[in-house]
Symmetry: C2
Subunit: 225 residues, 2 copies
């Protein structure tokens, strides 16, 4: 019974997958700082497994771009330096623009209704003013846009890029006034999509991300050095 340790009940997947998720979370949530070393032995101890699954997890995280790896050297949390950060936000803006543009013409009735309903409901979150709650809604809003494009690969690219940007976008909703601004920007996107105005939707989404980018780079500069 040494090597059976189903932590939770359901489809948590294999040990390695759990670790990938756990480590990715730690990186994305900022618990692990860029540049930090991820040595196999410590991680093995931490997760109470041997080095073999740790190595596989690191390999996968490397392929995901979250950690850097070179031969005979410890894996390190990837430093997303200023330049690349800007590149990622720009790419994100383009991707969101595409998704919104496609969503405008491709979303079916249910998707449109859901989008509108949830968006309206989010007004309450704005007045409540709890950044964490709004952040959670915001993620779902954007995912809805990605899915609405009805293109699995775009969904994958957008999700992946968003995950990598997460640590740098983390605190943006704490900035005063950002919450209601965000709502207004969402509103422009939603309205355009409901009108099936592809161009307007694309532009609105692009601008929305660009603004977030500006808000976040300040934060990144403070935090990343």
């Amino acid at each position: 019974m040494t090597q059976a340790k189903r932590k939770t009940v359901t489809r948590t997947g294999t040990t390695v997958e759990q670790m990938v998720r756990a480590i990715a979370d730690m990186i994305v949530s900022g618990i692990m700082v860029p540049g930090e070393r991820l040595d196999e032995l410590s991680l093995a101890a931490r997760f109470e497994v041997s080095r073999t699954p740790v190595r596989e997890a690191l390999r996968e995280l490397g392929a995901m771009g979250l950690v850097g790896r070179e031969p005979n050297r410890s894996a390190i949390v990837k430093t997303v330096e200023e330049a690349h950060l800007h590149a990622m936000f720009e790419a994100m803006a383009e991707l969101e623009g595409i998704c919104a543009r496609l969503s405008a013409t491709r979303m079916d009735a249910d998707e449109r209704h859901a989008l509108e309903r949830e968006h309206r409901a989010s007004m309450q979150l704005v007045s409540a003013g709890v950044p964490e709650d709004y952040a959670a809604y915001n993620t779902e809003f954007h995912n809805r846009l990605y899915r609405g494009a009805h293109n699995d690969h775009l969904l994958e690219l957008a999700t992946q890029t968003r995950a990598r940007l997460a640590p740098f976008r983390h605190a943006q909703f704490r900035l005063s006034g950002r919450l209601s601004k965000s709502y207004e920007e969402h509103d422009r996107i939603v309205t355009a999509i409901l009108r099936a105005d592809a161009t307007a939707a694309g532009t609105a989404a692009y601008d929305h991300v660009s603004i977030v980018s500006d808000a976040s780079t300040v934060f990144a500069a403070v935090r990343g050095g």
Copy 2:
């Protein structure tokens, strides 16, 4: 000396990396067919290593999206089903469009000259009519576009998507007339970029990929079943 076996001289990287490249090549070049099982023991024997590095390579290939993996089951060469194939080509077209659009305004003088020079030189390849040679040039042409956007993340997304599509684009240059058509399409893109006409460059690149998509899906249908 059981475990030292530097195959070639230079920076081939670690054993695992070599294997990743080798297996990816086999998949991408069609030597391994979608659905084919990749069992660890056979691969280990084939590459004359133990199962450990094989497992890591498969893990990475899984993250790259080239092979499918589920617990306690052999990895299999991923079948890119019709639907997702279309999605990937569409995403590729969007990405190329963005890269070309950005290239039009961002390429520096050297990059523009190189683009023009290589493009002109490729005319010889067209008349020579060797599909393999033109395919190699073509890859470089597109990479030039991705790099010209001066955005590392877009470069990464485009490269990644292109790699996954490679198997389905493989035989397209064998289609009669495709070579010179490709050259003409490239010409439109190059001309627009040299004029710094972002919109035209974007559209031309988008159309170029869309055409390749049409040419390739036929092939994919035949090949993938």
